[in-house]
Structure formats: structure tokens, C-alpha cells
Amino acid sequence: MTLTLRGITKSYGSLRANDGVDLDVAAGELHGLLGENGAGKSTLMKVLSGFVRADAGEVAIDGRVLSMASPRDAIGAGIGMLHQDPLVFGPFTVLDNFLLASPGGARLDRARGREQLEDAAQRYGFTFDPDAVARTLTVGERQQLEIARLLWLGARLLIFDEPTTGISADQRDKLFDILRRLAADGLMVIFVSHKLEEIEQLCERVTIMRGGRVAGREDMPVPPERLVELMFGEILVIPDRPPATLGPTVLNVRDAGFSDRVEVTDVSIDVAEAEVLGLAGLEGSGQRTFLRGCAGLIAADRGSILVDGTDVTKRSYRAFRDAGVHLLPAGRLEEGLVPGLTIAEHFELVSANRSFFVDWGAADSSARERIASDSIKGTTASTLESLSGGNQQRLLLAMLPSHVRVLLMEHPTRGLDIESAAWVWAQLLERRTNGTGIVFASADLDELLRYSDRIAVFFEGRIIEVVAAAATDSEALGHLIGGRRK
């Protein structure tokens, strides 16, 4: 069995998401589809799985051209797609979920279903219990259930669209093991990702997409530089962190405790001018509470917070802002920007101008300047919803006042494409050279190690270790995050 895609073209309005894409996959092959966000990978896979109809081009299996009008046609031809977030019915057992997809008539043959499921589980190393309630499954196990279901429906080609999003390293290794077994069994596997290391680790061949076209095809292994070049068109140079000249302390937290959903106790830390402090830790270990406490949104139960030597412990959020402390939260749409308002209105909301009447003419032209200088893709009249995540983050950063003493951030680049993430950090590092102390929480160890001067590791509401970023690596950091001290 072989899969052949020829000249797949799909436009959304003026945007060519796919432009004459060819793809070949052979039986038993683990084929990687690599590309940046927006390269056209998902569109191509939606065409292949029948969710989207191509404007032009054809899909053929073993040389026979398929008519693909719906996902049903695709699965009928043996093509199955796993979604980024597998759908399961939470209150049902694994077996019932499996049977929901069962081919055949009205009679539900539980015994046969169980047999099928256990058979697949043994063959590919699935770890779930057929009688467990689906709600209790990990994301990885839900994926296994979905695979079992697709196999039962007769899938011979399985598409995995960014399957490692939101799963742990252990689950990822397990998933990769399953994918290898599927390929060894003669199935075709297409693995879609924008993560180089995953493609390197798993795939035998890779097709690289850029701007809706195929930028290249390679047999693995290939030097990573080559893949990066194909992905981005040029070698991406990761700028070295400019050496920091740390100034006096801007933020001084002493024995502070904050009560929120996650309680934080006995935190003491200093942040110097131009310093970048990374906050590491599992989600819910207190980083969020700590950042909110430092921003003045949650009052400290005990201890003290000093900004530039001035005690602001019991002061209002407003007083923290006046002292130069600003928080950029993770949920840009929920607590940062205002849905329904335009870019110009956003800039006007945080404008230093205090006049009662708004001069919309002047507001419009100053917003236009900011849009150009901060390279936001949009117009002054664009509403927030019409902006991409990257551009929303740019807007949020552009709305900060020019003079910030302490900048607190949660996941500054989460969900952003590489270009926007690089832009965000370029902005942050520039602010740092102007003396801003930066504190940021991130789940991305590379980001923490690359940009921090020091990293504070949170565990169960406390800082258990503060390490110099230059003196540690992701492995050591990973141990600390799990609560294991050196």
C-alpha cells in the first residue's frame, strides 16, 4: 500500500494554505511532516482525512484516485486521523467508548469488542484498562484508545497531528514506541510536528513544508541545520544573551506568603535591575500565585515586598503599578486585552493622556505608528479577535509603559510561532538593557535556560532552589522541578 498526493491546492480567501503539494508515503513508513505554524501542514492533513475539500489535486492509494468528500470517505479508504485533543466520552468506560465506533448493526457485541480491544492492546502495547472510566485516562491513553478505534475501523494510514502537545516525556516515549510498532506492522504513519527533535528521534523520512509548499524531502538522519534551513529558508541564529550588568535591587521579597488557589509560603528573593529571573516548576506549584502577589493583585499574608527600596506590601494594585510593577498574564484574552475593542482603543485605554474627551484622530495616527514600530499585523480598526496569537502578544507588550521597573510574566511565548516568540524575547531583552527587572514563569525548560540569569524552582508553594542558569542544564532542572534536590 502506498499513498500519493499530487498537486494539492487549497486557498482560504486570498491565503494559499496549500499550493501544489506532493507527498508520498510507503507502507511501513514513519513519515514526518515538519513545518512552522502556518506552513500548511494541518490543512494538508485535513484534506487527506476528508475534513476539507481541496481546490485542486488528487489523493491516491495504490494508484487509485479517491473521491474525498467527507471523513467517512477517508476512513472507508483506510485513512484515519488522530486529533490534537482526542474526543472521548468521559463517563463511559474505555470499552464503551471503543464500541461507540463499532462497525456493524444495531446489536452491540461486547465480547467481540473486548476481544478486539485486548488484541490491539497487546499487539501495540496499549496501557489502558478496558473497564476504566474514560475520564480517568491520561492524554496518552486517550490517544491509544483513539488508535485502537481507528484500527478497528480499518485504518491503514494513521495521521498524528502534533500528538505530543500537552503530554509528559514518559507518555511521549510510550507514544513513540507505539508508533514504531504500528509502522513495523506495515501501517503508514504520518507524524505532523513543528518540533525538530521529535522528527529526528522518530521518523525515517521527512517532508518539510514552508508557506504552503513543500520545501524539501529528506531521508533521515539529516543534520538539524539542514532541517532548520528548509523550515525557515535560512539558518536561524539564536541570539546570544547580551551580558547583563546587574544594577541595584528593584524587587525585594522577604519571607512572603500569599493565599490563593495555590498557597505560597516563605518566599524570599531579590531581583536586580536588568536581571532576568526565571520561575520553573510544575503547573500549580505557586508561580502564578507568586507573580500575582508581586504584582499587588493578591495581598501578602506575611512578609514584605519592596520595590526600589520602598515598602509596598500592604498597598493597592494601583500603588504597585505606580511603583513600576507590571504583570502580563498568560491568558491574553481573559486578563490582558479586551475582546471587541480595536487596536486603537487598546492603546487609548492605557494612554497617559488624561483628558476627558478622546481625540480619535490623534489616537488613530499614534496607534498607526505603534503598529508599524512594533510590527503588529493589523490596522488601527482591527478588533482583538481578528489578530493572531502572536500579534495579540505584540499588542500586549506594546501597551506597556516605556518605563517599567519590574516586569512579571506568565508563559511569555506559550502558543506563539517561532518568529513571534523570538520577537517577544527581543523586546524583553531590550527592556532589560533599560534596567527593567524581569521575572517570568515558563514550562519550557529551554526558554528558562536560554533567557534567565537565575532560575527559581517552585515546588509545592515554596522556592526550593535558586540556580544560576549558566550552571545548570535541563536534566538537572527537570529533577528539581520534580521536587528532587541535588
Binding site: 481573559e334 486578563e335 478622546v358
Partner: protein
């Protein structure tokens, strides 16, 4: 003009035309069912609201409180507040104006100005109650609004049969008329008052400027659309919640004072006339945009006033006005819902890349 964001279908001209068509279609059907000639009924409806100068003046006197209350509601709705307490705020304003008219003597201009101020202050204070409950204790304004509407009505009845009652009779038909010095001057022999029209027009223009051209209006909209974001920007949601309630209640209170000084010339139990609820519908149909308030309110007022003709001439119950209004609202929601579903379906066929 207001730069309000709203569901795309609300306030759009084609939605309005189709919905009005449906509403009249249903009305015609109902008329045929009760063996009334539909064309004749529509003609009576038109004549009853715009046919003579007297009818037109009655329609405008209904239009004025509707516009005043609706303009105020624009501010509270833009602040994200479901202020359905306008009814009670109108009553509060009427009580305040009656109190001034009963107790203050002196030149007519002074007394009338004082009744306007008293109406606005009483309405604003009454609206601050749900505002305070909301911002301090997170009590939803719909529930407090309903309760306060009942309380205001009860207070009016108490005043009418109690302290402000007619000497010797305990009647719920109303207080003694206020003295003529407190009556709004009318145009000739008509009921219409130029002062009241000016008040309504000023309210529309003021709210339009406030919401579209001032920093205050922009912040109200920010709080209404995302309280958390506004708070992080250093905007105090409490402040804008309370002030939006005060402005909305103030304008409803002015509507109440006009009801007393320009229409009933006394306090009656049903002084608010249901205009507080009708104004919510006006604002909803206007898609929270001030430009549409005047024409929609005029349409509602015409149906209210014109339908009284129907009962006189065709012996059809004047509740037809309520039926047409209700069907109109439902058909606008229906047409709008259908349109947004269609645009959603179109969007689904046009998925976002990656």
C-alpha cells in the same frame, strides 16, 4: 457615535426589515383569525399614532420616557450590566419629582428644574443599590433589579394611599395633582412638552458623545467586555460599574419625573407604565447602539398609542400592541439567530489554517 461591538446581526437594517415583516405578518394573521379587516386595522394603528396632531403628541409623550430610559440603559449594557431595574428607577425618579413638586414653591422654572434634578438623583441613588450589591457582594443585578422593581412599586403605592394620599379617601388612583406651577409647559393645547423633547434629544446626544468620544465611555466598554483585563490595566471596575448604574438610573429617573410633571401631573401606582421593560427591548433591538434608539423607540411608542384606536373602532383588545411588540422581538431574535447560525456554518467551511 458609539463604537459598540455587538453580534453582527443585531441592529442591522436587513434583520430589522425582515423581522418587522414577520411581526406584521403574524399580526395580520391574528386579525384574520378574529375576523377583523387587517388593512383597516393597520390604517387605524397608523391614524391612532400619527393621524392627528393630538395623536402625534401622545405618541411623542410615550417616546420620551422610552428614549430617556433606553439611553441610560445603553451605558449600563455597555458596562456589561444587565440592568433590568430601569422600571424601578423610573418609579424612584417619579417619587423624587413628586416630592419636590409637593414641597417646593417659587417660580415655575426653578421648581421644574428642581423636579428634573430630583428625578435624576432619586433614580441614580436607586440604581446604586444593585450597583453596590454587584460590585461589593457579587449579587447579580438581574435579581436585585427585579426585587427593587417590586419595592419601588410598593413604595409608590404606600405613598399614594398613605402619607401623600388624598385627604379623606384612601384611594390607589393617585395622589392629589401637583400644583400647576410644577407642570411642564405644553405646546398650545397639546399634551406635548418641548422641554421633555429637548431632554430626550439631549440624553441621546450626551450618551452618544459619552460612549463614543470620551475616555470614560471607552473604559466603561473595557470593563463591560473584560473586567479582568480592565482591572489589570489599572481601571477600577467598581468605579465604572457604579457610575454606569448611576447614569442609567439617573436618566430613568428623569423619565419618571417627566411622567409626573409632563403627563400624569400626580403620582400614580403605575407611573412607570412598563417603559423600563420596553426600554430594555429597545436597547436589545438596537444592538446596544445609540443611533438606533430614537427610531426603534418611536416605532414602539406608535404601536402603544395607536393600538388604543383598535379597541375603540374594531372592538379588538388593545393588547394587540403587546402582541405585536412581543412577536417583533421574537422574530428579530429568530432572524438574527438564523443569520448568525448561517454565518457560523459559513465560517466552519472556512477553517483557520493550522
Amino acid at each position: 457615535m458609539s463604537r459598540a461591538q455587538r453580534p453582527a446581526w443585531l441592529g442591522s437594517a436587513s434583520t430589522a426589515i425582515v423581522s418587522v415583516g414577520i411581526a406584521f405578518g403574524v399580526a395580520v394573521l391574528l386579525l384574520l383569525l378574529v375576523d377583523a379587516p387587517p388593512l383597516e386595522a393597520l390604517r387605524l394603528l397608523w391614524d391612532g399614532s400619527f393621524g392627528t396632531v393630538a395623536k402625534l403628541s401622545d405618541t411623542l409623550m410615550t417616546w420620551i420616557p422610552l428614549v430617556l430610559a433606553a439611553a441610560g440603559l445603553i451605558v449600563t449594557f455597555q458596562a456589561g450590566l444587565w440592568n433590568i431595574g430601569a422600571e424601578g428607577q423610573i418609579v424612584a425618579g417619579a417619587i423624587g419629582a413628586t416630592w419636590i413638586a409637593r414641597s417646593l414653591g417659587g417660580p415655575s422654572a426653578v421648581v421644574i428644574t428642581a423636579t428634573f434634578v430630583a428625578g435624576a438623583v432619586a433614580g441614580a441613588l436607586y440604581a446604586l443599590v444593585p450597583g453596590y450589591l454587584r460590585s461589593r457582594f457579587e449579587v447579580h443585578e438581574i435579581f436585585s433589579g427585579v426585587a427593587l422593581n417590586f419595592l419601588a412599586g410598593a413604595l409608590a403605592v404606600y405613598l399614594i394611599i398613605g402619607p401623600w394620599g388624598r385627604a379623606g379617601t384612601a384611594s390607589t388612583s393617585g395622589t392629589d395633582p401637583i400644583r400647576e406651577g410644577a407642570w411642564l409647559p405644553t405646546l398650545g393645547a397639546q399634551r406635548i412638552s418641548l422641554v421633555a423633547i429637548v431632554a430626550a434629544v439631549v440624553a441621546i446626544v450626551a450618551v452618544a458623545v459619552l460612549m463614543g468620544g470620551t475616555r470614560y465611555g471607552l473604559r466603561v466598554k473595557a470593563v463591560g467586555r473584560s473586567t479582568a483585563s480592565a482591572r489589570l490595566m489599572g481601571i477600577s471596575p467598581q468605579r465604572y460599574t457604579l457610575s454606569a448604574f448611576a447614569i442609567g438610573g439617573g436618566l430613568a429617573g428623569v423619565a419618571g419625573s417627566v411622567q409626573v410633571t409632563g403627563f400624569h401631573h400626580k403620582l400614580v401606582p403605575s407611573i412607570s407604565g412598563g417603559y423600563g421593560f420596553l426600554a430594555v427591548l429597545v436597547v436589545l433591538l438596537a444592538g446596544f447602539r445609540i443611533v438606533w434608539i430614537a427610531p426603534i423607540a418611536l416605532f414602539f411608542a406608535a404601536i402603544q398609542v395607536g393600538s388604543t384606536q383598535l379597541s375603540l373602532r374594531l372592538s379588538i383588545d388593545s393588547s394587540l400592541a403587546g402582541v405585536i411588540t412581543g412577536v417583533l422581538v421574537l422574530s428579530i431574535l429568530l432572524v438574527g439567530g438564523w443569520r448568525s447560525r448561517r454565518s457560523l456554518a459559513l465560517a466552519a467551511r472556512r477553517p483557520v489554517v493550522e
